[in-house]
């Protein structure tokens, strides 16, 4: 039944989106980009792709951060087009996508407020996807208490904040703990929301979100080794969804070293390779393993997001597209960095999408 009426509301946007998707850079584009000697070459190469003249008006010399900003702007424009043409429930779904960025922005503002900085400057640093209308209102807050109240009133993130943090916590806890606590709440909520959308959206999104949740759990575990983060605190940051939940999460919560993380990952077939194969690779120090881990997570994420395009009549593609595009921007920045810093040997460490 879903499929029958899907196109009435969303058919157009899905078509547009799939059009966008075909504009994602392919291997041959990357091959060309990696040949560039300077950032000007890089721009010329990019102008032949769907990015078009997005850098045309930039003064020379180009910096990688301008490229990053402009490329993100392209994505944001596309997204805003989709968002403004969307109707319920897709619009709500798209809003959910922006919440992740919003969390980062709010956390940034909290940091600024905590240190009594002028938070207006911070608005420029916020991720444009996570910008919401009332964001400047948050800048009015001069202390954490006020900020907390305005976050509750002004932002869609209110339930996440109200559910797990008190204004007191913002002051006391490390900002990273705040961020991850809120993010956990967000993931769980998004997961619930996707469930209400029914199959196939829920199927696609659940696999993606489960992975995201597991990735966070594993990352938090590994990154909290040798820090002041206690195991109880750590366990509280794990999202209660995902394929590792609950048994794997319990193991992760107790893990003291990378081997125990590996043991926890062994429970899920797909995750087994993340830590295993890297061990048989070159370096056996945990730093090397963990550094490669991030790469593998990115690859797995891309894979899952690409899978979403194999089905029709669902919203997962929108999420998938945003994530793929995000990865593409990361790739572009990476290549640009390599060009700018003359590190040709590392140039191919990006993760091609198609």
């Amino acid at each position: 039944m879903e499929a029958l009426f899907f196109n009435v509301d969303t058919g157009f946007l899905e078509g547009v989106l799939r059009g966008y998707k075909s504009g994602i850079l392919s291997q041959s584009h990357y091959a060309n980009l990696t040949q560039c000697e300077t950032l000007e070459d890089f721009r010329t190469q990019l102008s032949a792709t769907d990015y078009g003249n997005f850098l045309a008006n930039e003064p020379l010399p180009l910096s990688t951060s301008t490229i990053a900003d402009k490329a993100t702007q392209v994505l944001v424009n596309q997204f805003n087009y989709l968002r403004s043409n969307a109707v319920e429930p897709l619009s709500k779904f798209l809003d959910y996508i922006t919440y992740a960025y919003m969390i980062d922005n709010v956390v940034l503002l909290i940091t600024g407020t905590l240190h009594e900085r002028d938070t207006h400057e911070l608005l420029e640093r916020c991720h444009p996807l996570g910008v919401f209308d009332s964001m400047p209102a948050l800048c009015v807050a001069t202390n954490v208490e006020e900020l907390y109240q305005s976050v509750l009133v002004e932002t869609p993130l209110a339930p996440y904040f109200r559910g797990c943090l008190s204004p007191h916590d913002l002051d006391d806890l490390n900002i990273e703990i705040v961020r991850n606590t809120v993010y956990k709440a967000y993931l769980e909520d998004f997961y619930q929301y996707c469930a209400t959308l029914g199959s196939p959206t829920s199927d696609v999104m659940h696999s993606i979100l489960s992975f995201e949740a597991d990735r966070r759990a594993i990352n938090i575990t590994i990154n909290s080794f040798n820090t002041e983060l206690t195991k109880e605190q750590r366990a509280r940051l794990f999202p209660s969804i995902g394929r590792l939940f609950p048994a794997g999460n319990n193991m992760l919560a107790r893990a003291d070293d990378i081997d125990q993380v590996r043991a926890a990952c062994d429970m899920v077939l797909e995750y087994r390779s993340f830590l295993d194969s890297s061990l048989s690779g070159q370096s056996d120090d945990s730093l090397g393993v963990a550094a490669q881990l991030e790469d593998k997570f990115f690859r797995a994420e891309i894979h899952l997001n690409k899978l979403s395009f194999l089905q029709q009549f669902h919203y997962g593609v929108f999420y998938g597209y945003v994530k793929l595009k995000e990865q593409e921007i990361r790739n572009l920045i990476w290549i640009a960095e390599c060009i700018a810093q003359d590190a040709k040997d590392r140039m191919h460490d990006f993760i091609p999408i198609f």
């Binding site: 010399p61 910096s63 700018a340 810093q341 003359d342």
Partner: protein, 120 residues
């Protein structure tokens, strides 16, 4: 001449640089914010006034707890006369390359002196 009292309390590294350099060096742990909210680093971007850079340079070179002042070369370039004029041993002023501006030994005020001395 440099007596022990002159440098024994100097143990901080100050930085004047662009955002990336500062971020990296702060990650390594050079950052210090004292009770008066005085920082030992200054972020220079396109909007930073040259006078602000000069002021920071003066402040860092006059502070008694700083042993080394790191400054991005392209920023040193902006206040070159001040840097060239600076001849004190303490704190040591060191020009470092930044991400977007690879190191050019011919501009370094110390290296210029080195070259001159080696040359003759």
């Amino acid at each position: 001449m440099a007596s022990l009292t002159q440098f024994k309390d100097r143990n901080l590294i100050a930085v004047i640089g662009d955002e990336d350099s500062i971020t990296g060096l702060l990650l390594a742990g050079v950052g210090q914010v004292n009770a008066q909210q005085q920082k030992n680093f200054l972020i220079v971007d396109g909007k930073t006034q040259i006078s602000a850079i000069e002021a920071a340079f003066q402040e860092f070179t006059e502070r008694k707890d700083i042993a080394i002042v790191l400054i991005n070369q392209h920023i040193a370039e902006k206040i070159r006369p001040t840097v060239d004029r600076y001849r004190q041993a303490f704190p040591a002023v060191l020009e470092i390359p930044s991400k977007e501006h690879p190191y050019d030994p011919s501009k370094d005020s110390i290296l210029k002196r080195v070259q001159k001395l080696v040359g003759d």
